[in-house]
């Protein structure tokens, strides 16, 4: 029978905490920037000219149908040949943004399309321009409808961000791997970081519902 010994994990717990903190920072930054990218792309996809729509479609298809590991690999090792050298953490951030952007675009586009046509017509009839209609009338209700999808995509992003340890970014998974390779206390380390991930996703769920309450406080009909 295996003897659990959590001592080495406790000794290296500060490293795990640092890792968790970076994971949180990375995911949050990726969420915010990815959201901006998503909104722009969704706007481009619903109202842009044809070549722009094709470009966005290609971007979405490539990202959604290839593994994140490969994406991050090409960003970290491929971009330097184009003269752009990123630190592991910023490469990880860029990869996460690009990845989240592709999924987010599809989600937000669905939100935009769920907005009743009458809303757009009412805005148009009032003399608002297309951009104003998007900005003042469509955006907020669209985000509200897809908010649950966005947040679960975010949690998914946070959990898959562990892949960034492949390019030596110092996230929670990397900290865990380092600790387990130094001590060989694999089970203990994995159990602890699993619980840490669970705590983080639960924590985010709480934060998200608080944000939802604050940002979308208008009542829905029926």
């Amino acid at each position: 029978m295996y003897d659990f010994n959590f001592e080495p994990v406790l000794a290296g717990f500060d490293k795990l905490l640092f890792g968790a903190w970076l994971t949180i920072q990375l995911s949050c930054a990726a969420m915010v920037l990815g959201l901006v990218l998503s909104v722009l792309c969704a706007w481009g996809k619903t109202s842009g000219v044809a070549p722009l729509r094709w470009l966005i479609d290609a971007y979405i298809e490539v990202i959604r149908n290839t593994p994140f590991l490969v994406q991050i690999f090409f960003i970290f090792f491929g971009l330097p040949s184009l003269g752009l050298r990123l630190t592991p953490n910023s490469a990880a951030l860029l990869a996460l943004v690009v990845n989240f952007g592709a999924y987010g675009t599809e989600i937000i586009r669905a939100g935009i399309e769920s907005i009743h046509k009458g809303q757009v017509e009412a805005g148009t009839a009032l003399g608002l321009s297309k951009l104003q209609v998007f900005r003042y009338i469509i955006m907020k209700p669209a985000l509200r409808t897809v908010y649950p999808a966005l947040t679960s995509q975010f949690i998914y992003l946070m959990l898959t961000s562990s892949v960034v340890s492949a390019i030596s970014a110092d996230d929670l998974a990397a900290a865990g791997n380092d600790l387990q390779s130094a001590t060989f206390a694999s089970f203990e380390v994995y159990i602890v970081i699993t619980l840490m991930y669970l705590a983080m996703s639960m924590g985010f769920s709480v934060v998200f519902s608080a944000i939802e309450k604050a940002a979308f406080k208008y009542p829905l009909s029926r």
Partner: protein, 263 residues
């Protein structure tokens, strides 16, 4: 096919030049297709400033399409539409101007659910006309008073009854100081008890001399305020007349059937 002149009876100014149009709305040979489907067929209609027009007809006859062409929510393929002297078919800035000069009220209210009543009413004046918030709110409160719901200004649409929502929609349109109001079945999504409060608001407006085009099945309203009633079927205007004549002595066969059904 059957061409019916839908011009105003007292068309004294008919000789006036086209550039300074005497008409609030003038449609000439207007045709509209949705793909293969011919939704409006050779529509001829001239509306005097201050005139109140009621449009009725069976479902799918093109009533909504007709009034939605007036503020270019739908574009036409053939013919000409001039609103308050601005030729929509000429394009350019005219479309924007016309949209600012026409207010529209929809069957489904279409209030913006994420904005309070006041915000609904001030959005367009601020963003389109560039009014200050203070001015826009003053105007908004004035019109909310006029539709008799000043106390609801801070509520969200979902917190109001259907009748209240529709009155907000009317106030919102009025806040842009439109010259012409378009109504597309404004009472048909309402519970029966709320119909009256909205109709009353519209009657008030009519009394003040607002140019109005209204799609509705409320025949009582038509009798009370309309200068002319128009009957449409299958994309055509089949009969036009003053209410007494229209209801009392309909000529078109399909209109007779229709009036029988909705009575």
């Amino acid at each position: 096919m059957t061409e019916v002149k839908a011009d105003a009876p007292a068309a004294a100014k008919r000789g006036a030049s086209d550039t300074v149009s005497p008409w609030a709305v003038r449609m000439e040979g207007v045709n509209k297709w949705y793909g293969e489907f011919h939704a409006l067929k050779d529509i001829e209609l001239s509306v005097n400033p201050g005139e109140r027009i009621v449009i009725c007809g069976p479902s799918g006859s093109g009533k909504s399409t007709l009034i939605r062409c007036i503020n270019q929510l739908e574009t036409i393929q053939k013919g000409r539409i001039v609103v308050d002297g601005h030729d929509l078919t000429a394009g350019g800035k005219n479309v924007d101007i016309v949209r600012q000069e026409t207010g529209m009220v929809f069957q489904q209210f279409n209030l913006f659910p994420h904005m309070t009543v006041l915000e609904n009413c001030t959005l367009a004046p601020m963003k389109v006309r560039g009014a200050s918030r203070a001015d826009a709110e003053k105007t908004a409160r004035k019109y909310l008073e006029r539709v008799r719901i000043p106390e609801q200004a801070e509520k969200y649409p979902a917190q109001l009854s259907g009748g209240q929502q529709q009155r907000v929609a009317i106030a919102r349109a009025l806040c842009m100081n439109p010259k012409i109001m378009l109504f597309d079945e404004p009472t048909s999504a309402l519970d029966p008890e709320m119909v009256k409060e909205v109709l009353d608001t519209m009657i008030d407006l009519a009394r003040e001399g607002m140019t109005m085009l209204c799609v509705t099945h409320e025949m009582g309203f038509a009798r009370q305020v309309a200068d002319r009633v128009i009957f449409m079927d299958r994309g055509e205007i089949l009969e036009v007349g003053a209410p007494d004549e229209f209801f009392g002595n309909p000529k078109n066969e399909r209109l007779k059937v229709f009036l029988g059904q909705i009575a």
